[in-house]
Amino acid sequence: MSAKPDQPYLLRKHKTEEWIGRGYTTICVMFLIVIIISIVYFVASKGITTFTKDGVSVSEFLFGTRWSPDDNHFGAFPFIYGSFLTSLLAAAIASPLSICAALFMTEIVPTWGKKLLQPVIELLAGIPSVVYGFIGLSILVPVLRDTFPGQGIGVAAGAIVLSIMILPTITSIATDALSSLPRNLKEASYGLGSTRWQTIKGVVLPTVMPSILTGVVLGMARAFGEALAVQMVIGNAPHVPSSLFESASTLTSVITLNMSNTVMGTAQNNALWSMALILLLMTFVFIFVVRLLERRHRL
């Protein structure tokens, strides 16, 4: 950088600052991009070996129901099914609760509702997942065992624990969306003589629906990727469960259970990496859906 001698001192100083700032941020961004690309490359290259080296067909892996690594059967369908089932159920349980909580905070009692609920929800988000898992195992599982057939452990327990874990995600996104809603929309509705309930139902909810759905999808993405808490309460049997109160597995739980016990490069270890690849691809799908929703929202 050769500043011309006739340039005033301040201008030179500001130009240097600009240059340093630009350089520093560029390095940070490069670093992020390199990390992301190497993670994707690593997981993909490990995950593909199941199909290229160990000779498992993609369709057997995705749709086979028999998981028995000792006999070379690598059907991962029970885990994929378990992951989708638990995260969908969790979203189904958590969404109504979160949306109602968000409405309560913004529309119904905006004065003290937000002051009281906001810290509570932030606290929920900060509890480590192992604590959720342990509470689920110690309190939820015995309750389910006494009330329903089966051993308490199973998809239902996993979905309930997950639903509590994703409550904060959905609630905070829904709250943000609701509070950024322009005042004039609501006032127009009141001006036409609608009650508060009619305003919420006819104006507020339809307007913010895409944002709320974004929250639900992000919540599902979190539920899909959660490992520890689910693993503790779901039972981990590698089978498609025939009831909600029967032991089942998710992609994450089978990975955490077996990854440390298998040796790198063996067929079973590679199959676990393939499941990690599926998880990664699902994350991309979730992000894609969120992008789509955001675009619809803007139009």
Binding site: D70, S247, V254, N258, N261, M264
Partner: protein, 304 residues
């Protein structure tokens, strides 16, 4: 305001630097420990990783060894038997801890042969049930029938009329491999509806709480909250394991790649001293290797 910012930056930098300093420390060697003995002082760093069942023992013995040899630094990590074997094979760690023989986990024969086995302790596993089921002893055949799903109610084996709930381990678990090999004598399929947990703590909790539950635990985890079953009429206890009457046990292995270097060898030799075998090993609930009256090879053949 500006001063505060500078202060914060300096703090951050100092913190980062001190962390970096930690990272390089473990390769530093000191040679100040001669302390009167004529042996040359040991120095260097030993990294061990692997089996979580063996980790507490290696950790405790490692600390004692470091007190005696200040030039040596020992770090013990968990990660599971598979991780330990992978890392020792790849040369990332000096010692790989494992619950099973390396040849059972590593399919590549050359890689398995390059590892040298050091057996330090023995862990015995017993079938345990919820105390409510009213069964004290099972034969091998009854256990096989239960874990393969042929027997589904405790009344079929003279217990109460309670459905059997199996608390199993994941198929890759070393504990499960030992139990299947020496108690059942056969590999079992994962039954629909069976529960699988990897940690012994969780298995114990579930066996204690679930009516009709059966699982298996290392002897050190067993107390009066669960019933340890007799196996073919033999009590699962340390004496019966030592004399070879009770067959469900396995070695705890510490693998090195090739012959260990001086300090690693000294550390492994330290495990075989009476001080550790009769002290730490017994204290932490393992069975001393040196006391075993029977030996067993990879194929499971027992010799006196």
């Amino acid at each position: 305001m500006k001063l505060k910012k500078t202060f914060l930056t300096v703090l951050t930098l100092a913190f980062t630097l001190s962390l970096t300093a930690c990272g390089t420390k473990d390769t530093a060697t000191t040679d100040s420990n001669t302390s009167g003995t004529d042996k040359p002082a040991l120095s260097g760093s030993i990294l061990a990783s692997g089996s979580t069942a063996l980790q507490p023992l290696v950790d405790q013995v490692g600390k004692k060894f470091m007190d005696k040899n200040s030039g040596v630094s020992i770090q013990v990590q968990g990660g599971g038997s598979g991780t330990g074997l992978t890392q020792v094979s790849g040369g990332q760690v000096q010692i790989g801890n494992s619950d099973v023989f390396a040849s059972e986990k590593i399919k590549d024969e050359a890689a398995a042969k390059a590892l040298v086995d050091h057996q330090v302790a023995v862990v015995a596993i017993a079938a345990v049930t919820n105390p409510e089921v009213g069964v004290k002893s099972l034969t091998k055949q009854q256990l096989v029938d239960i874990f393969t799903g042929k027997i589904t109610n405790w009344k079929e084996v003279q217990g109460k009329d309670v459905k059997i709930a199996i608390i199993n381990r994941p198929s890759s678990s070393g504990t499960r491999a030992t139990f299947e090999k020496f108690a059942l004598g056969t590999k079992t399929e994962d039954l629909k509806g069976s529960i699988q947990e990897d940690s012994s703590g969780t298995v114990k909790k579930l066996v204690t709480e679930t009516p009709g539950a059966i699982g298996y635990l290392a002897l050190s985890y067993i107390d009066d909250k669960v019933t340890a079953l007799q196996y073919d009429g033999v009590d699962a206890n340390v004496d019966n394991v030592i004399s070879g009457k009770y067959p469900v046990w396995a070695y705890e292995h510490m693998y090195t790649k090739g012959e260990p270097d001086a300090s690693t060898k000294a550390f492994l030799d330290y495990f075989m001293t009476d001080e550790v075998q009769n002290g730490d090993i017994t204290e932490l609930g393992y069975i001393p290797f040196s006391k075993m009256q029977v030996k067993r090879d990879v194929e499971g053949n027992v010799t006196k």
